[in-house]
């Protein structure tokens, strides 16, 4: 945010037209590429020096943020890659059917709490909104459950009536399964659903994140789907311990699946957030560097010009005396 303001400021600074006001005229004279002979002697380079200092400080901050994100990313990335093993068996058994058509949809949008991380939050929100349009219709109900401060802020603007719950401060401690499962439990107890759709940014590499939708069906819907020739026929070939009926097993599985998928989704999104922050901060530092170069050039040119003028004055004065 600071960078954007600064960039705008810098542009305004460099392009500001000559105005009749002497103070601003002096300022633009320093920065304009053309050397302005009439005002040369009284030019102060203070303004440019201050600006250079502030740009340098901002560059330091963005560089530090990049380093922090990079070092955090490494740990989170390993955990994310390990957590993928949690949902894969579920998808193999129950399948992932994003196109299923049910009455009560709950969209779980995962975003970050902090900003300065590129466009990953708006991507999540955008996908959620289009999914909302896709799933809503007559006699249907779609609700949002939002994780993260940034998603909440964006959703409040135009779809605040469909928000069912919002969760923040999830990432105060490092993410762990216990935390996410308690959260999953809270969500399950408080919303009615036929299908839960979790939206998050899947981490692919430091620069690429794929917005992903994971669908979790309620046990009843799973059963109905399996009767109409779904994937679930396999479940009967498993030997299940304990005296539980198929419906109970399915309910347990659906609950456990939700918490596992949510855990992986939260981790993937945290990982993407760090990656996005890293590249955003990298480009900010580069922009600050470019701006610093431009400012240094104008500064030096002005300084050189005033030195030259002084020399010319001294020499011409001396030659006038001798001549």
């Amino acid at each position: 945010m600071a960078m954007v303001a600064l960039r705008r400021e810098g542009r305004r600074f460099l392009l500001s037209p000559m105005s009749p006001n002497p103070a601003t005229a002096a300022r633009s004279a320093i920065l304009s590429e053309e050397f302005n002979p009439s005002g040369t002697r009284s030019i102060s380079t203070q303004v440019v020096r201050n600006r250079m200092k502030s740009v340098k400080n901002i560059q330091k901050i963005t560089k530090a943020m990049k380093m922090v994100a990079a070092s955090k990313l490494r740990a989170v990335q390993i955990r994310t890659e390990n957590s993928r093993g949690l949902w894969q068996p579920f998808t193999a058994l129950l399948g992932d059917v994003p196109s299923v058509d049910v009455k009560k949809n709950v969209i779980v949008t995962i975003t970050s709490d902090k900003g300065l991380c590129g466009g990953i939050n708006s991507t999540s929100v955008k996908i959620s909104k289009s999914l909302y349009k896709f799933t809503s219709g007559p006699e249907k109900e779609t609700k949002y459950v939002i994780l993260g401060e940034k998603g909440k802020v964006q959703m409040v603007r135009d779809s605040k009536n469909s928000i069912e719950m919002s969760i923040t401060e999830l990432q105060k401690n490092p993410l762990n399964y216990t935390q996410v499962s308690v959260l999953a439990d809270d969500i399950l107890k408080n919303v009615e659903y036929d299908a839960l759709r979790i939206i998050f940014n899947k981490f692919h590499s430091v620069v690429s994140f794929i917005p992903t939708v994971s669908t979790i069906l309620s046990p009843e819907v799973v059963e109905r789907e399996s009767e109409s020739g779904g994937k679930l026929g396999n479940l009967d070939s498993y030997e299940i311990e304990g005296g539980e009926t198929k419906a109970e097993v399915l309910q347990n599985l659906a609950e456990f699946q939700f918490s596992c998928v949510l855990f992986n989704a939260a981790l993937e999104n945290a990982c993407s957030e760090l990656g996005a922050r890293m590249s955003a901060m990298d480009s900010s530092s580069r922009n600050a560097g470019e701006m610093l170069d431009r400012l240094t050039l104008t500064y030096n040119r002005t300084r050189q010009a005033s030195i030259t003028t002084e020399l010319i004055e001294i020499i011409s004065g001396a030659s006038a005396l001798t001549g």
Partner: protein, 75 residues
């Protein structure tokens, strides 16, 4: 499957009767297993049990006061 058919008339599992979901039940079990560890590993595993988040329900387009869930793995 025979046992499953036999069990169909039986009551729901005790933990579900107590109002728990499978997630809560498995969390309680996991916490018990972590409690069985010996010391250097026990405190390390305990750090993976920390819970902290703020949850707020929405009614009529307005958030209600958030409730903060902190460090309570078992409800």
């Amino acid at each position: 499957m025979a046992s499953a058919v036999a069990g169909s008339s039986a009551a729901v599992p005790f933990w579900r009767a107590a109002g728990m979901t499978y997630i809560t039940y498995s969390n309680v079990c996991a916490s018990l297993v972590r409690g069985c560890l010996k010391e250097p590993y026990k405190s390390e595993a305990a750090t993976r049990e920390k819970v902290h988040f703020a949850i707020s329900k929405w009614a009529n387009g307005k958030p209600e006061k958030p409730t903060i869930r902190s460090d309570s793995p078992e409800e």
